[in-house]
Symmetry: C2
Subunit: 729 residues, 2 copies
Amino acid sequence: METPNLFRLFFLSLCVGLVLLFTWVHLPYGPDLLDCTTNSAWCTSKNRFQSKQPNNHLKNDHNPTRHRNHVSDTPHHPLDPLTVEEINKIRTILSSHALFSTSAGYALHSIELEEPDKPLVLKWKKGDQLFPRKASVIARAGGESHVLTVDLTTSEVTVHHTGSHSGYPTMTIEDMTSAMWAPLMDARFNRTILERGVDLTDLACLPISTGWYGKTEENRRLIKVQCYSMKDTVNFYMRPIEGLTVLLDLDTKQVVEISDKGANIPIPKAANTDYRYSAQGTNQVIKLLKPISLEQPNGPSFTIEDDHLVKWANWEFHLKADARAGVIISRAKVRDPDTGELRDVMYKGFTSELFVPYMDPTDAWYFKTYMDAGEYGFGLQAMPLEPLNDCPRNAHYMDGVFAAADGTPYVRSNMVCVFESYAGDIGWRHTECPITGMEVREVRPKVTLVVRMAASVANYDYIVDWEFQTDGLIRIKVGLSGILMVKGTPYENVNQVFGQDSLYGTLLSENVIGVIHDHYITFRLDMDVDGSDNSFVKVNLQRQQNSPSESPRKSFLTATRTVAKTEKDAQVKLKLYDPSEFHVINPSKKTRVGNPVGYKVVPGGTAASLLDLDDPPQKRGAFTNNQIWVTQYNRSEQWAGGLFVYQSQGEDTLAVWSNRDREIENKDIVVWYTLGFHHIPCQEDFPIMPTVSSSFDLKPVNFFESNPILRTPPNVETDLPVCMAAATT
Amino acid sequence: METPNLFRLFFLSLCVGLVLLFTWVHLPYGPDLLDCTTNSAWCTSKNRFQSKQPNNHLKNDHNPTRHRNHVSDTPHHPLDPLTVEEINKIRTILSSHALFSTSAGYALHSIELEEPDKPLVLKWKKGDQLFPRKASVIARAGGESHVLTVDLTTSEVTVHHTGSHSGYPTMTIEDMTSAMWAPLMDARFNRTILERGVDLTDLACLPISTGWYGKTEENRRLIKVQCYSMKDTVNFYMRPIEGLTVLLDLDTKQVVEISDKGANIPIPKAANTDYRYSAQGTNQVIKLLKPISLEQPNGPSFTIEDDHLVKWANWEFHLKADARAGVIISRAKVRDPDTGELRDVMYKGFTSELFVPYMDPTDAWYFKTYMDAGEYGFGLQAMPLEPLNDCPRNAHYMDGVFAAADGTPYVRSNMVCVFESYAGDIGWRHTECPITGMEVREVRPKVTLVVRMAASVANYDYIVDWEFQTDGLIRIKVGLSGILMVKGTPYENVNQVFGQDSLYGTLLSENVIGVIHDHYITFRLDMDVDGSDNSFVKVNLQRQQNSPSESPRKSFLTATRTVAKTEKDAQVKLKLYDPSEFHVINPSKKTRVGNPVGYKVVPGGTAASLLDLDDPPQKRGAFTNNQIWVTQYNRSEQWAGGLFVYQSQGEDTLAVWSNRDREIENKDIVVWYTLGFHHIPCQEDFPIMPTVSSSFDLKPVNFFESNPILRTPPNVETDLPVCMAAATT
């Protein structure tokens, strides 16, 4: 088997790389653009994958955007992300700034476009000059976090007061990779690993955010590291060296504490854990299906102007990759079929934060309560998508341009895809039935546009889809796949367990427990329904009773509309037996027959966090205390867990903002929705999980005068392609 | 405009047809097989549609099964539906039976296969001889309902005692069509119509089940008829002659009572109501998209053996059309990837009943609380699917063979379709991220098999999908489309309304209210997880508190398993803040590591009925009192609202059966799940509704030893087809 040797080679080269890395990260600035052939950690894994291991199924002739270096990109829209050239300029400006030129070392944790003020963007039209370009930079220097604005026109740098909030910026990739290997500098750690029977060259370690539980996690940046054996499998996640936790200082990379409570827990076997196709024996492969493909003989129906402005069917929106949010949709507008006018729906929508608490209070597990956007960077962890498998054949791929810790720009290629989907579903239909006997049968197929990214935050994979429908609906869907975070155990069979509660999960395989956990994904949705000033209306269904003199019916439901005056009125816990619709309306704009135009939030994935409100993780994740919140627009309130989530204590969350109880009636308002999943693992999740999805919708409600897709044509045979199997050509 | 003339012609020919119909229905027997060119009401509308109005987009070369007359069909499987030949034989047998030969007139309301006992079917293997074929017949004769068994081998007829339950059999199509025109025999009715300004030739009437509210609805079969104007539109549903309700005796077709409380309510205008493509002006058509198609260059991956046994990927199941349920899935089995063995999952699954209460207590509306399966026949109302629009290109179409009221067999062609779907979704994936830097990216596309039917119960269209996934999951999805049941009103604008509650809905257009209503679709799922004896287990997530000495965490969740001993233990109201998983397990079969094998019910579409439990409609629809129920298998308990739902009083519902509280631990058990929707109409639903869908899942949980699709290959470019636009060939 060649796998272990490959890994050993890889491990050694990583160790060498580590030394280079350390030196280089602390240089004031590095090369102009990272070269993935020599500096791997933040590059796309695909480039390296292809260079080392040619693999037929990665070839894709349909993607003209691959491997663009973006060096000559220029911005065309006020919301376009920073370009390679701009990032390089920022790096140069900052390198001579007092804060950094005098500092022994510094790290840039985030370099993003500072978007122009909303009123400016709203009035900007194509052809207008761009506003002065600015960057928002989050940096660490001299043991402090700084928020800066860099004006790219004037080269001026403004240092902002960051307030007294706890917490630290999102880790850099360099933080994470260096933390992985730092324990190896500790002799005690190495001895423990050897005692567990693991060869140091088989070691794979993960940097795990510590959260905040009290004094220990205050006033210094910490990380916990846990390790696995990657002997005989790439799926090292299934081979935990259980109970061994190394607490590191993330700034100094010094080991603070080693906790080892798992000496008696065997490392689970590697058998049946490798999920790679190449690792399956040829006689094991199960080919169930003949090829099936979405085909568009005349090409896709969407265009992407200036790299970021997506135009499809009746939709138009701005799309960009983001290091923290993953994907940002801005200025989403839909065309009115009656007037031909493009009408505002949403100013900005994105994944604001995630919260993933594990349900095991023991030493090596209690702290696992990930906030993947603010701690790890949801976009930073979004890897290149795999053509033909992550997205269908005619997908367009969009790259992300990010910056390393020293400010060097790099390209995350194929990070987002855009494609049209047709699953065979029905947009609308009606047949006259035998009762009326009329000869009517009208059916319209349903075709949608999907924007997709997939973040692999270590073991887990989150697939985030923004799906646009021609009827005006936007579906936001999150799929969970990837690999469980599992726990080692001496048990090999459930019959050995006395009281299954003590497992904190499900025995998935011999010595492997899938620990119970939740996933919460909170979206920030700056709705602008036909303009910025909107109201939030609860339309509550309630039972009314009738007396026998009024009706033979004893009961019926009525819908009562209540406009939320302030933020607390809009803190919503969903109730199946006290149901409501949730409308974002424009109170100043009515339809012909007098209904206020609106969009409704249609809940889905409604699992709610049940943790104690005073539990430290829940205080930090207090943005999951309600499924829906509505806040007054505030430019600074973008990240539901706070700007500095890492080791935060929960003083800067959506819950805190909302409790200010600002007015939200006929104001510029922001809706927050949390998709939730309870996950009790099962054996089918081993060694890799079939995707589980949930979604919620933003749906027009009296926004259009009538069905906006009434006048679209049906499919006809002559429009469809003539296809042949590729092998026969 | 040619439309009104066509309708007048149609109306007149229907009136003539009516007389013929009456005569002919009361003949002891008619022709051997209905000919759709002369007898239209129960035939496929498509045949007539095509003959009168050639329409390009109805052509379909991909469907080899169309227009089969099925005269030479023979059964191959114990569950195969009755054939044309068998139905003819039953008709002959019954025509000489004492019950009918002496009766002045009779009607056969249902002729279905009487399935052999479950143990017999379970042990039957292909190649074995079929069991003696029997039919279950529900008939009305001499003012009584009868349930009969007809043995096709011996020609023996057994008359069963029907018990003392209230209610009547599902209406025949002849009941419905004759009710539509019966009011025209009444001079008062005709005068009222003319007073409303409607020409009698523009009249379209609907037969509306009366429900049961007390003495009025007891001891005689009744129906209410309400009418619409079809002048200038096929969408007469949008032009109600509001407030006019005719109560008819369904047996004598005599008018019992006419209620007219809508004299001052105008009939809404026809403008913008016609949804047919042919009725849109060419300059109005909005073509948003280029063609997109699901293509399978080597053909579909499924086969259908002997017309009913579907084999796809790792699945095998028996599929048939049913006049009451629509579609029945039987003997669903999935192949274990480790052993190669086909394992039982579900013995039988189908739509057992619907409940659609409208939320308006006034005279012309209170009784609208449809039970579409038991009152109208969910399958009887399922019309031929439209190729390329209802189902994608490579769909296979299956016909239904039903019987008219006199026992004459007829074919409902293309009633069910089967196709493979690929929406661009992901079966499972994992990428190694920058943290680990390993070169792994493995993704598998998700392809599913869909079984679809679409029932048009007058105005509404219900799309029912059974979707099978290769990972063992079955998704049951219901889409709502078609046309709202609307109410006429004097209001033209919301600003004229004092207190919107009095609308009982939403003003959709001038003089048109969309009335609030619910939809409940209850599925009967006879689960047989690796055998018939199963248990139902609630896996409840509950918060546990920690003391500071135990853990820095204050709280976490544990999963507690409770086996339901009796039926009342398994009456489930879903609670978001007290969440559970719902497992059907086989307590006698465990995985390698000791978990009981199981499938879980994953709720979705969770709207719950809020009507008063003592409200007559809710008593009849008591099967919606819980979202999940589990009953001990009982062959006679198939229809959640009772066998005789029409005017039933609720003595024979699932709620009554479940309250017997039989033992269900390690027994043959049946799971019932209700998909619920609250529908507050909005203007986008006018004049025809974009589809709204909800679904629930049956999902393997420790059923397989590990991910069953681990070893399936990814898509590769060379497998995909080469396509050209059809126009260029």
